[in-house]
């Protein structure tokens, strides 16, 4: 357990910040970080050292974030079905992002919230690649190792992500 605690101390901030940037919500980021480290504890004996520990933990974190997003989308879909049976509302669905990110200063909140609302519309893989590049500062090679992709595939993902962001604004 003490070895695990060392791993936690060395990587918890990294995982928590990735989850925060992906989910943009403090409570969700805490929940997913918890799940990530439970999984790390469960699978630590299966870690073969083919990649670095950091990359391996990043990979688990990315998968957990994607799973969390899938689960919340499922909940939203169920919500839509329920709303069909609920009272009719003449409101168009508005999805402003309810950002609860302790790393964003108050003066930057609007700008960051705006760019996050666009990033959230990207395909999950594009979103992950873009966040790993921009907020985590990982190189193309490192992103490839985390996402099990070649460096070229990562570049292609990033390029598509940027072009999609441009399209959304045009």
């Amino acid at each position: 357990m003490s070895a695990f605690k060392d791993i936690y101390r060395n990587h918890s901030d990294m995982v928590y910040n990735l989850c925060l940037n992906y989910l943009q919500n403090k409570e969700d980021a805490e929940d997913v970080t918890q799940l990530v480290f439970v999984k790390v504890y469960q699978q630590l004996d299966k870690f073969q050292g083919k990649s670095s520990l950091k990359t391996w933990i990043y990979r688990i974190a990315v998968n957990q974030c994607l799973d969390h997003q899938k689960a919340s989308k499922r909940k939203k879909r169920f919500g839509v079905v329920r709303s069909l049976f609920a009272e009719k509302e003449d409101q168009k669905e508005v999805t402003p992002i309810e950002m609860n990110h302790p790393g964003v200063a108050l003066e930057d909140k609007e700008a960051v919230s705006r760019i996050f609302s666009l990033i959230n519309q990207l395909a999950p893989k594009q979103k992950i690649a873009l966040l790993l590049k921009t907020t985590e500062g990982l190189s193309g090679k490192e992103i490839g190792e985390v996402m099990n992709l070649s460096e070229k595939a990562v570049e292609s993902l990033l390029s598509r992500a940027r072009s999609n962001l441009k399209k959304m604004l045009s």
Binding site: Y8, Y16, N17, V104, A105, T134
Partner: protein, 91 residues
């Protein structure tokens, strides 16, 4: 002119420390998970009790389950010269 999709704005996001209570939550979760793993012992105990109950039921319902008791009863009836039927008067 600054582009509206300028990703540079994301660099303004500061890295924050994971909340201190998170380690406790992780440890509690792991502890809970390990307790769940130990449930086979509970299942084993439940299976043993069930086996005992089944054995009891079989002993009660099995044919000729009390041969010794019956033979003792018939010997006693014979030694006392008693009738084996419930008839009070012989016809």
């Amino acid at each position: 002119m600054k582009q509206p999709y300028d990703l540079e704005v994301l660099k303004k996001i500061q890295q924050v420390e994971a909340p201190p209570h998170l380690l406790e939550r992780v440890e509690a979760s792991i502890h809970e998970m390990e307790e769940l793993v130990s449930t086979p012992r509970i299942w084993l105990a439940a299976a043993a009790v069930l086996l005992l109950l089944l054995l009891n039921a079989w002993l009660v319902t099995a044919p000729n389950s009390h041969p010794i008791q019956e033979s003792v009863a018939s010997e006693l009836v014979e030694s006392l010269d008693m009738s084996l039927t419930n008839q009070f008067y012989s016809e």
